[in-house]
């Protein structure tokens, strides 16, 4: 049992060789992970990378094919019930009851956690205040906005004080404002010492919230480190140039590859160039293109995307299967 929330060396989540097969499909492959108490670890990867499968195994919703996972020292298969009492899950798939109100949902979760009616009511009132649910507390969950729903979702995970809180893609599908609200809530929780395991498709989200990031693709961990560590390897900004057609893409590639290190994505008709010097690099690139007079669709300075991170850290795009389709996909 973990006792201290400040014991940084204590490992709350540990997986060893965690593997999950669905028939012939390997969803998670030999995955090792350690989450220390009081830290935030983010699992970062594209759709279908195996993030949710890992979360489901940690939350005892799915049994590993091989390997093991423990939460607070409890094995997710042999001591599943103990795992459930120390872990709270908020996920894309761990839904609320649509036809109950926000308040009724929270009460049900508190009661199912074992609280008597009086305690449950007080906890729920507290959560409603804390998560600013008051104005829609008596609305059916199916009729509230995505952002409001996510707040109820988070509150539902906190009807107990979990030893570890698992958030599966907490902001997928949310508008930027709601995303900010979720982020600030998560930061509050972290400052209170909650251990957090978070999955996301957004590099900026992992960067904003996590102490430690694990990149995952095709069920395997492909890189790991602190956000700063990873960012220094990815590079900060880049210049993206979208060509008007494939012919001019080739012209531009030939023109720019001498002076810059270019990455070409044919199916997006796009050339990407690292821009560590930001605006200075942008003007250097535009100077070359301007001198030649080639038309472009778009040219812009951008923050790195998840794809860039994978490219930089693993030398491969996040979906290697796309490479083959790149060659074949010629617009008619």
């Amino acid at each position: 049992m973990t006792q201290s929330l400040t014991g940084r060396d204590e490992l709350v989540v540990v997986t060893r060789g965690l593997t999950k097969h669905f028939g012939d499909f390997v969803a998670v492959d030999d995955f090792d992970l350690e989450v220390a108490a009081g830290t935030v670890v983010s699992l970062l990867g594209p759709n279908g990378a195996g993030k949710t499968t890992i979360v489901r195994m940690l939350a005892t919703l799915s049994e590993p094919t091989a390997g093991s996972a423990t939460v607070c020292g409890y094995d997710v298969v042999r001591n599943a019930d103990s795992v459930r009492s120390v872990l709270s899950l908020t996920g894309q798939f761990a839904a609320l009851e649509d036809n109950l109100t926000a308040r009724e949902n929270l009460l049900l979760m508190a009661r199912l956690r074992g609280y008597q009616k009086g305690s449950a009511t007080r906890i729920v009132e507290g959560l409603i205040e804390r998560f600013d649910i008051g104005e829609f507390r008596d609305k059916l969950v199916k009729s509230v906005s995505g952002g409001q729903r996510r707040r109820v979702d988070l509150a539902a995970s906190l009807v107990i004080q979990p030893k570890v809180l698992v958030l599966d893609e907490p902001t997928t599908g949310l508008d930027p404002r709601s995303r900010q609200v979720v982020w600030s809530t998560v930061r509050d929780l972290v400052s209170e010492g909650v251990t957090l395991f978070l999955t996301t498709q957004y590099l900026e989200e992992a960067d904003a919230l996590a102490d430690h990031i694990v990149l995952i693709d095709h069920g395997r961990a492909t890189a790991a480190g602190t956000p700063n560590d990873l960012k220094s390897r990815i590079g900060d900004q880049r210049v993206d140039i979208v060509a008007v057609d494939l012919e001019s893409l080739d012209t531009l590639t030939a023109m720019l590859s001498g002076a810059f290190s270019v990455v070409v994505s044919r199916d997006q008709r796009m050339i990407s160039i690292p821009a560590p010097n930001e605006v200075a690099d942008l003007s250097a690139v535009t100077a070359v293109i301007g001198a030649d007079g080639t038309l472009v669709d778009e040219i812009a300075l951008r923050r790195p995307t998840l794809d860039d991170a994978f490219l930089a850290l693993t030398g491969q795009p996040s979906h290697p299967t796309n490479e083959t389709s790149d060659q074949e996909e010629v617009p008619a």
Binding site: E97, L127, E192
Partner: protein, 281 residues
């Protein structure tokens, strides 16, 4: 230090979690909570509400007045013939109701939320079954009530009434478990609705619900004679009217046949449903 910070902002920190009761007590408590959740949502889903209220009312009125004017059953009013049939049909339609509700819950992810909590797994699936049975009872009470108001006069002793209630509960248990299993397999509520109607609707019409099986042409008659729903309808009619049907062993011994069919369905569906629930990932 951080624990002080938590108790200030975290509502759960100020409340003591009671010691965990014994497993069986927890099972009863959790099942009750989850059944209550299911019943709470009925009035909020128009289609579910109409399935157990408006639909039986419309069926009863339609068949009584449309078919009733053309069908003459010897030695019996059409009310007395039809109502046992409608009760049997309601039982059978419970398969669709339970299947759709289960498919919806599993599809929405709310079941996964419950499974991620430290609640007994059996309570999650039991509550599904118990909730559906209560919902179907509501529908059957409405059908019987309208029937009585419109001239249904069952000929049965108090013991007959007890027998009727027991048979209906047995039938509900069997068909609800079957529906829950189907719902978990099919997973989509729309598909469940479609498949359910495609199977249950014809079987319930062939089951001597509205017209006697003995008067049907050869092929429907043979199907009707061995249709499990025929045993149901005939058993309920035997209890309320004391008149067995004829044509096959199960129609001549309908009560035993119904008990055997239900026992068989329960013996097959319950273990399969539990296994599927445990493995669902």
């Amino acid at each position: 230090m951080s624990s002080i910070a938590i108790s200030r902002v975290d509502p759960a920190a100020n409340e003591a979690l009671p010691p965990r009761p014994a497993r069986f007590q927890r099972f009863v408590r959790e099942t009750t909570l989850l059944v209550a959740r299911g019943l709470q949502t009925i009035p909020r889903v128009p289609s579910r509400l109409s399935d157990v209220t408006i639909q039986p009312i419309v069926f009863t009125l339609l068949f009584l007045y449309v078919f009733g004017s053309a069908i003459h059953i010897p030695h019996m009013t059409y009310q007395n013939y039809l109502l046992p049939g409608l009760i049997g049909q309601s039982l059978a339609f419970g398969v669709i109701g339970a299947g759709v509700a289960t498919a919806t819950d599993f599809g929405s992810g709310v079941i996964d939320r419950f499974r991620s909590l430290p609640v007994t797994r059996l309570s999650v699936i039991t509550s599904q079954v118990v909730g559906q049975i209560i919902e179907q009872i509501l529908g059957i009470v409405i059908v019987a009530g309208i029937g009585l108001a419109l001239g249904w006069r069952p000929h049965m002793s108090p013991w007959g009434l007890i027998e009727l209630v027991l048979l209906v509960l047995l039938g509900l248990s069997a068909f609800t478990w079957f529906g829950v299993l189907m719902g978990m397999i099919v997973k989509s509520s729309d598909a469940m609705q479609g498949i359910g109607f495609a199977i249950v609707f014809p079987l319930s019409f062939l089951a001597g619900t509205f017209v006697p099986i003995s008067g049907m042409k050869t092929i429907p008659r043979v199907i009707g004679e061995w249709d499990p729903l025929s045993a149901l309808v005939a058993a309920i009619r035997k209890v309320t009217e004391g008149t067995p049907a004829h044509g096959s062993w199960q129609l001549e011994h309908p009560v035993i046949a119904m008990v055997v069919w239900c026992a068989l369905i329960i013996a097959i569906c319950v273990p399969l449903a539990l296994r599927r629930f445990k493995l669902s990932n």
